[in-house]
Each structure stands twice: as structure tokens, then as C-alpha cells.
């Protein structure tokens, strides 16, 4: 057994062969929690071999550029593994962040979870 895991920042569910991830935190701002979220997301791909991922943002109210960096890095890893990533249920203010930074051009963003699951299946 490896060491005790750090506080779980993600809730992970399976929908067939698609992994749906919900964020525990409302504010993804702090350096330490962003680092942990990144590690836990990367583990899903690198450690557990999951290739079809949906990130559900319904709980998230704030998100900084450092958090965007982790999502971009995740997208790069998923692509490299031959998988797909989609984001859903993003509040308008947060979605605006993805649009301003043009990340909506490289990362699939849809409104509802079912559409997101279908888009990576």
C-alpha cells in the first residue's frame, strides 16, 4: 500500500466506460488545492488508465488561471493517451474564462453531463 491519500478533491463516478469527475471545492484558487486536484486528475489517466473523461463543473464558482493550467495539462495527457475529455455544467462566469482565453477552441465544452458523456464515448 502506498501512503495515506491526501484529502479527496474529486468525486469520481463511472458511466459505462466514461469517467465522470465532480469537483468537491467551490473555489479552485489555492495553490495547494490546485496542485492536489492536478495530481488526482493526472492519476486517473496515468495511473488508472482512464481515457474517456468528463469534468462536471456544477459545483465550481471560482477558478484561477493556475487551475486552467491543470485542465490544459490534463487535456494534453488525455490526447496523448488517445482518449477524449469534455467539460460540462460550467457556470456562465467560469465559462467566460474559457472563452476569453480561447481554451474553448481546444477543449470540448458542452452544457449537460449526458451530452458530455456521449461526446467522449
Amino acid at each position: 500500500m502506498s501512503g495515506q491519500p491526501r484529502k479527496r478533491r474529486l468525486e469520481v463516478e463511472d458511466a459505462g466506460d466514461v469517467t465522470v469527475v465532480n469537483f468537491v471545492d467551490k473555489k479552485i484558487l489555492e495553490e495547494q488545492s490546485i496542485q492536489t486536484i492536478g495530481d488526482q486528475l493526472f492519476e486517473l489517466v496515468d495511473g488508472e488508465g482512464r481515457k474517456k473523461l468528463v469534468l462536471n463543473f456544477s459545483n465550481v464558482e471560482y477558478l484561477s488561471s493556475a487551475a486552467l493550467g491543470k485542465i490544459i495539462a490534463l487535456n494534453n495527457r488525455v490526447k496523448k493517451a488517445g482518449g477524449k475529455l469534455a467539460l460540462c455544467k460550467i457556470k456562465p462566469d467560469i465559462k467566460d474564462v474559457f472563452v476569453i482565453t480561447k481554451l474553448d477552441k481546444i477543449i470540448k465544452i458542452v452544457d449537460d453531463e449526458q451530452t458530455a458523456i456521449q461526446s467522449v464515448s
Binding site: L29, E31, Y62, S65, N75, N76, D93, V97, T101, K102
Partner: protein
Amino acid sequence: MSEKAPHPEPVGKDVVKLPSSPGHARELQDRIEALLVQTIATDRDRFCVRLALEEALVNAIKHGNQMDPGKSVTVRFQVFKDHAEFHITDEGPGFDPDDLPDPTDIENLERPCGRGVMLIRHYMHEVEYFAPGNAVLMRRFFQKAP
């Protein structure tokens, strides 16, 4: 008799010296949030201020001061009924904000960093950097687009 020009009083102002650790930035954010509810700021305004302030503080602590515990970040803020302004200075060497790669260029889109200054400029109505680039003044006027 000439009329006196109106001189609005801020609902809160202070000069705060923060150690170079993100935990202290959080306390300041909570203070600002408590002041913003006493203004005409909308939910959107509060979101914009919080995000821009977060990016500016992270830039100052992480990139400016390199998380050096011997260095601090000075934040001078004034929150008025209709706008808020923040002057943030770190002890780093500074940078040229006009010489950053455009994070929205196609070749930079997959880079995981370099978006903080862009977001600050988007979410604040006025942003000014001072030479040598280790100080920034930013303002947001409430109930004004975007």
C-alpha cells in the same frame, strides 16, 4: 460661495503587507469580499474583482517574490460604493507586461501557464503597471460592462 466638490468616502481602505504565502492572500480576499457587499457591486463585479485580485496576488507572491519568505507583497486598497482599486507591489525584479507571449495564439493555447495578466486586463477596467514592472494598479467600476 463655490460648492465643495463631492469627495466620496471609501467603505474601506487599508495598506496591508502580506508575507509571500498564499494563505495570507486568502484572508485579504475575504476582507475585500466583506467590503464589496456594502457597495453596489453585482455578483459579476464580485467575481471579476476576486479573480483579478487572485491573479495579481499569485503573480506577486509566486513570480515576483518567488515565494521567498523574506519578501512581502504590499497591497494598498480602497473600496468605494461604485468602484474598487488595488495597488499591489512585490519585491521582485519586475517584468515587462507588454512583452508576454499571447496565450490565445494558436501555438500557445496548449501551454499551461501565462494567462494571469490577460485575465487581469479583462476583468478590471483600468490596469497600469509601473516600472520596473513589480507594481500594478487596477480598478473596476461596478455595474459597468463587461
